[in-house]
């Protein structure tokens, strides 16, 4: 008598699927083909990113980790990668994204933004050449002044770059603090609006309109990309800003209170100056 059919060769995908099922994952990647396709797409695949986020939150609560992978990060590839790196680091995971892999993903993202069809080569230098020629092409089609001159006018040597990195880190810490403070203040103000009786019926509307924006960490790349227009500091209380942020409230007048006063003043002044 022959024994039962040997089980199919265990595959990595199969193992992963079994684990996901056991963990309670209910997303769209419970099917091997879908999972493989998503894995090929990597972080540029929406489903794959979602899976990472879900796994991250499960692991975080089980292992009580500090780091997390947030869905907000998904919109900003670089931040997302940083989050995953940080997460893996905290788990002391030996398999991290290599520098080149991250670079490839970023260059691919550039392709997408610039509308260049997906690259056939994985040679990064060749890919960057393609990016450069596309950018030159686009620039030739806009006004000369459209993209201003760079703010940073020198080439940085590695020592200067390192120094700037350190300064940037210190500034990021400082501004993180201030940012948290301002976000908190904004939150409590919006909340206080939500407590009024008239606003209680509009909580959904408020929630829809008030969504804190995701914050991008400032890096050296931002410095290199900065243009001269950044050196113009626009005061928050400048005339233009005030005009644009004025709302109906600024023009409210308590008419009735001052009506009699108005008449009084006019009468008084008429007595003093009959030309009025």
């Amino acid at each position: 008598m022959r024994g039962p059919e040997p089980a199919p060769e265990p595959t990595m995908e199969g193992d992963v699927l079994d684990t996901l099922e056991a963990l309670g994952y209910k997303g769209p990647l419970l099917e091997e083909q879908a999972l493989t396709k998503a894995a090929e797409g990597g972080l540029s695949s929406h489903e794959f990113s979602e899976l990472c986020i879900w796994l991250g939150s499960q692991i975080k609560s089980l292992c009580n980790l500090e780091e997390r992978i947030t869905s907000a990060g998904r919109d900003d590839l670089e931040s997302f990668q940083l989050e995953i790196s940080g997460f893996l680091k905290e788990m002391a995971c030996p398999i991290l994204y290599s520098y080149w892999e991250i670079l490839k993903i970023e260059v691919q993202a550039m392709f997408d933004i610039l509308g260049i069809p997906k690259s056939t080569t994985s040679d990064i230098l060749l890919m960057l050449n393609q990016v450069e020629s596309k950018v030159k092409d686009i620039l030739s089609k806009v006004q000369k002044s459209h993209v201003g001159k760079p703010l940073l006018k020198i080439d940085l040597n590695s020592e200067q770059a390192e120094q700037l990195e350190r300064i940037n880190e210190a500034l990021c810490c400082e501004y993180e603090c201030r940012r948290l403070m301002l976000m908190k203040r904004l939150d409590v103000t919006v909340q206080s609006f939500g407590w009024s009786d008239r606003a209680k019926v509009k909580t959904d509307d408020i929630a829809r309109i008030y969504q804190p924006k995701h914050y991008t960490t400032i890096t050296m790349a931002h410095l290199l990309a900065a243009r001269e227009d950044l050196s113009k500091i626009i005061r928050t209380s400048s005339g233009a800003s005030q005009e644009k942020t004025a709302c109906a409230i600024n023009k409210v007048l308590m008419g009735r209170v001052f009506w009699t006063l108005k008449i009084e003043i006019i009468v008084q002044l008429k007595k003093k100056d009959s030309t009025l």
């Binding site: 908190k184 203040r185 409590v188 103000t189 206080s192 609006f193 407590w195 009024s196 928050t236 209380s237 005030q242 942020t245 004025a246 409230i249 600024n250 023009k251 409210v252 007048l253 308590m254 209170v257 001052f258 006063l261 108005k262 003043i265 006019i266 008084q268």
Partner: protein, 396 residues
């Protein structure tokens, strides 16, 4: 006073022409040293006060300011120094103009109502306008009269801005956020207020019903915008009793009963801070309401007489606490420096205003404000920035 005047002097050391050090031992149990800032005239006054006290002539149960600075230096958790700003003089427990900082991470550190003061968030607001003197001079009498008529003054008078008990609760909790929501403040006003016009730990339940009852009609007026005044003075015995119990329980020792305090982390300490924050919020609402009415008047005036000025923004709110008024005959704006605490600019500034406010309210204790400001400038505590010249005055 067991020591004679000369023995007391052994604990006092002149640092420079504007400052003196109070060494440990001047009073029992000092955790840190004291320092006080003077000019020649103020120095004379302070030492005279000490000499009189040594002879047995105290003033109305208050210790001399120097001793009070020392007693504050003996409070648990105090950081760096107990400081006496220029024109420091005797007060309740703390001298008026006596400043101290306490480390909130130190479980021993305390909070003392005497240190906070009874006039919680008593302050000044400076509004800026785009108008010239030539715009205002022709109508200054009418403008001043209108302000007097329409912005209530004096304790007990009714406010113009409608407010019920529920509004008061919300105002105590939300500070300028309430004013903003109700349309009395502009969003940009918050940026020019300390704490953005709202202390977040406020809890209206920690404010007594009696204080609320008194505060409710007074939400918009000059000279009565403190939720404290008489109420807190009457309530001090209550607070003292609660804190004295806490002091026995937590084994806190102070040199002066008026320095009653509680550990910051204790329920009494937390309750006090929450009530204090609510009182602070009330003051900001009060000042916002007055600003609102002032803006109404200004807009009203200039629409009537100067059509060309018809646009919505006349007044910016400059820094709170920025104006120092001397019987309304001259005002000086000073800007903060880092002395004498490295990072504690706000403490210094409110301490400075604190010691000057009594000048406004008690003309008999009139001192030359310019003197005090000059001393601060010389001592490096603040720098003179702008001198204001009033063209009309309304007394609150």
């Amino acid at each position: 006073m067991s020591r004679n005047y000369n023995d007391e002097l052994q604990f006092l050391e002149k640092i420079n022409k504007n400052s003196w050090r109070i060494k440990k031992g001047f009073v029992p149990n000092m955790q840190v040293e004291g320092v006080f800032y003077v000019n020649d005239a103020l120095e004379k006054l302070m030492f005279e006060e000490l000499r009189n006290a040594c002879r047995g002539g105290g003033v109305g149960g208050f210790l001399p300011a120097m001793k009070q600075i020392g007693n504050v230096a003996a409070l648990p958790g105090i950081v760096h120094r107990s400081i006496g700003l220029p024109d420091v003089h005797s007060g309740y427990g703390f001298a008026i103009g006596n400043m101290a900082a306490f480390d909130m991470n130190d479980p021993e550190a305390v909070v003392s109502p005497g240190g906070v003061g009874f006039d919680i968030n008593c302050g000044v607001r400076l509004l800026r306008t785009n108008l010239d003197e030539s715009d205002v001079q022709p109508v200054k009498e009418q403008l001043a009269q209108a302000m007097f008529d329409h912005i209530p003054v004096g304790v007990g008078s009714k406010g113009v801005i409608p407010m019920n008990a529920k509004d008061l609760e919300e105002a105590l909790e939300m500070g300028v956020d309430w004013s903003l929501r109700e349309g009395y403040a502009w969003a940009e006003d918050k940026e020019h207020c300390e704490e953005y016009g709202r202390m977040l730990q406020a809890d209206p339940n920690k404010v007594s019903p009696r204080a609320k009852k008194r505060g409710l009609p007074q939400v918009t007026h000059f000279g009565g915008g403190n939720l404290t005044d008489l109420d807190f003075a009457a309530l001090i015995p209550d607070a003292l009793v609660a804190m004295e119990k806490a002091m026995k329980r937590d084994k806190i020792i102070v040199n002066d009963r008026q320095l009653a305090c509680a550990r910051i982390a204790s329920p009494e300490g937390q309750d006090y801070l929450k009530g204090m924050a609510a009182a602070g919020n009330y003051a900001w609402v009060n000042r916002s309401s007055m600003t609102f009415l002032t803006r109404q008047l200004d807009f009203f005036f200039y629409e009537t007489f100067f059509f060309k000025l018809f646009y919505s923004k006349f007044w910016d709110t400059c820094a709170e606490h920025a104006g120092l008024l001397q019987r309304y005959t001259c005002a000086l704006v000073v800007c903060r420096t880092c002395q004498p605490f490295g990072t504690c600019k706000d403490c210094i500034f409110s301490g400075l205003v604190q010691c000057l406010i009594p000048l406004l309210q008690a003309p008999e204790s009139y001192k030359n404000v310019t003197d005090v400001v000059n001393t601060c400038h010389d001592a490096g505590i603040s720098k003179k920035a702008i001198k204001l010249r009033p063209i009309a005055v309304i007394k609150g």
